[in-house]
């Protein structure tokens, strides 16, 4: 039935959004090979259940339009409501400020001091004392604010 085609596509989209949000963000500007596997494998497995035996062009177009519509609705809700944006994207989290690590955030987000220092080195910062604050952005990157008085640029 046509309704099941649409429901399957919508469920697959919402389920993947949830899973990707739950699996969490890892620091870094690019996908690691580990994350590549996750993205492609999740996509492939979802496709099997969404399409099944019904491989007509009509089904494909219907499901693509359903996913596009779901995406539009979520993007609109995200734009209209800060709470929805927080739920969908997460929020930036401070990892280091005033020479203190936010230990709860580090452990819960499974981030080590090495990950912060990796990003700091990219900005020419030599050691942790050159960092004024470090922020884990919602999209996974770590932003470093240099401590200008101590070795930061």
């Amino acid at each position: 039935m046509a309704i099941f085609i649409i429901l399957r596509a919508a469920f697959g989209y919402v389920f993947l959004v949830l899973i990707v949000r739950i699996v969490g963000r890892r620091p870094g500007k690019q996908l690691t090979p580990f994350e590549f596997v996750l993205v492609f494998y999740l996509g492939g497995l979802t496709l099997t259940g969404m399409v099944g035996m019904e491989v007509s062009l009509t089904n494909a177009i219907t499901q693509i339009l359903t996913v596009a519509f779901c995406h539009y609705v979520l993007a609109f809700a995200r734009y209209k409501s800060d709470k929805v944006a927080q739920l969908l994207d997460g929020i930036p989290l401070i990892l280091l400020e005033k020479n203190n690590w936010r230990s709860e955030t580090l452990s819960r987000m499974r981030i080590q001091d090495d990950d912060v220092m990796d990003m700091a080195r990219e900005q020419g910062i030599k050691d942790l004392s050159g960092i004024k604050s470090a922020v884990l952005e919602a999209f996974g990157e770590i932003t470093i604010v240099p401590n200008k008085s101590k070795g930061g640029k």
Partner: protein, 179 residues
């Protein structure tokens, strides 16, 4: 319409942390989210465990067996099936089912339509439709004798069916098909 762009003045709309960085950090929300994550990981583990046990079909809890009081018909099937996934329903016949060198077995239409009977082995000598189902006739010598029906359900939901050796007590059962 004018070619002038619509503009609004920039305000300090993103909350600052320690009056320095405009980050908009919300630790209350984040702690709630971490709690939700812990619960959802437990939920995922429970789902996987249920799946391993067969609560969603193809496992120990899904397998079922029913028989008639005279053991003329023993039905082995999966009480929980997955949509568009093949499975086998086995009908074992006792001596009471064989009459005059043949077995006549009735299966309700629901075996064919929502439960998606793909084939029956061995091929029946004869099949006739009526009374809300199909009656198959097989040549038979003596017990044990078995017939297998390959199922591939199309529609999720609860489906009732009946299997009966003609002239004997029927077996009525349900199969729940998960999406």
């Amino acid at each position: 319409m004018s070619a002038q762009p619509f503009t609004t003045p920039v305000e300090d709309s993103v909350p600052k942390t320690n009056d320095e960085l405009a980050i908009g950090e919300n630790l209350d929300f984040q702690r709630k989210w971490w709690r939700f994550e812990r619960i959802i990981w437990i939920f995922f583990a429970v789902i996987l465990l249920c799946d391993l046990l067969g609560l969603f079909g193809r496992g120990w809890l899904a397998k079922a067996e029913r028989s008639t009081p005279d053991n003329g018909l023993i039905l082995k099937y999966e009480r929980i099936e997955r949509a568009s996934t093949p499975s086998i329903m086995t009908l074992d016949f006792g001596p009471a089912a064989i009459q005059g060198g043949r077995i006549q077995v009735f299966v309700s239409n629901s075996i064919v339509m929502p439960l998606g009977a793909q084939r029956i082995a061995p091929q029946p000598q004869q099949s006739s439709v009526g009374n809300g189902g199909i009656t198959y006739t097989f040549a038979a010598t003596q017990s044990p004798a078995a017939v297998q029906i390959a199922l591939e359900p199309s529609f999720p939901g609860l489906h009732s069916f009946r299997v009966q050796v003609v002239g004997r007590q029927p077996i009525d059962a349900n199969i729940f098909v998960v999406p």
